[in-house]
Amino acid sequence: MSNDVLALADDKLMLGHTQSDWTGLGPILEEDIASSAMAQDDLSHATVLYEALGEDPDALAFGRAAADYRCCDLVTVPDELDWAMATVRRFICAHFATIVLEDLAKGEGDIPERASRLLIEQRLQTEHLDAWIRRLGRGGDDAKGRMQHAFDTLAPHAGMLFEAIDNRADRHARWCAAIASPIADAGLTMHTDLPDESVHGGRRGAHADHFVEQHAEMTQVWAEDPTAAW
């Protein structure tokens, strides 16, 4: 259970950082704000989950070696500053987070209260993102082409969300069901194969170069002075 909490928290920490790159660059003002607000959500969710593990959130966020993070590759894979990639990545991750939080909300101890609270905010994200997947998929040939390219590019990374996760087959099936209808309504397709467990990725510390680079940048201040404050 705590492995899943750490995996989800690390996903959200990194997604919050990578999606923050869009602040000020969103294609329209409202979505720039929405994207930034969702990044803000993700960073706060990571904090709440780190606290649930009984750890200092800053120490977990910034004080670990790269190999000790449990995020998947998808959350840091470069989006080439392409809004379709950013939107599809967020959509895929938001539905995964919803499924894990639903399960954590039924668990024991300190976790369910926190997971239930986060689930409220998470569902606002999925609702918003579902609407944008439908909207952009139906938005003409250019938009549809970009969205399909994003799904094709990110699909191989998406399966690794479920690496070393409890009840992976069940959760993968629920995730497939949750994303199926917006994707179909949009006239788009996505490969949703579950990779073999022999493939090692970020959840077991085998991170891609893009994560290692992001980690070095993100932890730079902490590495120089762990007591630095705002």
Binding site: E30, E31, I33, A34, A37, M38, Q40, D41, L43, S44, H45, T47, V48, E113, R114, S116, R117, L118, I120, E121, L124, E127, H128, D130, A131, W132, R134, R135, R138, D185
Partner: protein, 165 residues
């Protein structure tokens, strides 16, 4: 001897840093306890990512600790029950409305958007002209707890406390 009501009155004088409304009126105060000169305040976050939480916590701790009969004040954030706009008091609703911010239960209910394609369904009356001919501009507004609506009649934008449950 300071009473719980005394503390509540003082808390009702603390406005949210981002809204013209006190933290009591917003429904953020879940419980107040007093034990041998120590005040224990339990608050609910509107959204976990609200950047004003630390400011609110500091305001509460400083203000309550300054009361006669209170030595120190502790502040804890709690996630259960989850805050919803239902917790906003009628006085709070009036103050928000006077500043052009509408609240879900005060009007005709949900405005979460049509989940099919449109992002713009709205049934929230305009706080300026009262028209029901309004639409949801964006579910993500200037703060985590507010969304943006547009009045098609008087052409004003206004903010609505985000319906959450």
């Amino acid at each position: 001897m300071v009473s719980i009501e005394d503390v509540r009155t003082v808390l009702d004088g603390i406005d949210d840093p981002e809204l013209p409304c006190s933290i009591v009126q917003l429904g953020l105060v879940e419980s107040i306890g007093i034990e041998s000169g120590v005040a224990h305040i339990v608050l609910l976050p509107t959204f976990t990512g609200c950047p004003a939480l630390q400011m609110i916590e500091d305001d509460v701790r400083r203000t309550v600790a300054a009361m006669d009969g209170v030595d120190t004040c502790t502040v804890a954030w709690q996630y259960e029950p989850a805050w919803t706009p239902d917790r906003i008091t009628s006085a709070g609703r009036e103050r928000l409305h006077a500043h052009g911010v509408t609240t879900p239960a005060a009007c005709c209910g949900a405005a979460g958007g049509d989940a099919t394609v449109s992002l713009t369904t709205s049934a929230v009356p305009c706080p300026y002209c009262g028209s029901a001919n309004t639409r949801l501009d964006s579910p993500y507004g200037p703060t985590r707890c507010r969304q943006i609506h547009m009045c098609e009649d008087c052409r004003n934008q206004f903010e609505h406390m985000k319906p959450v449950s």
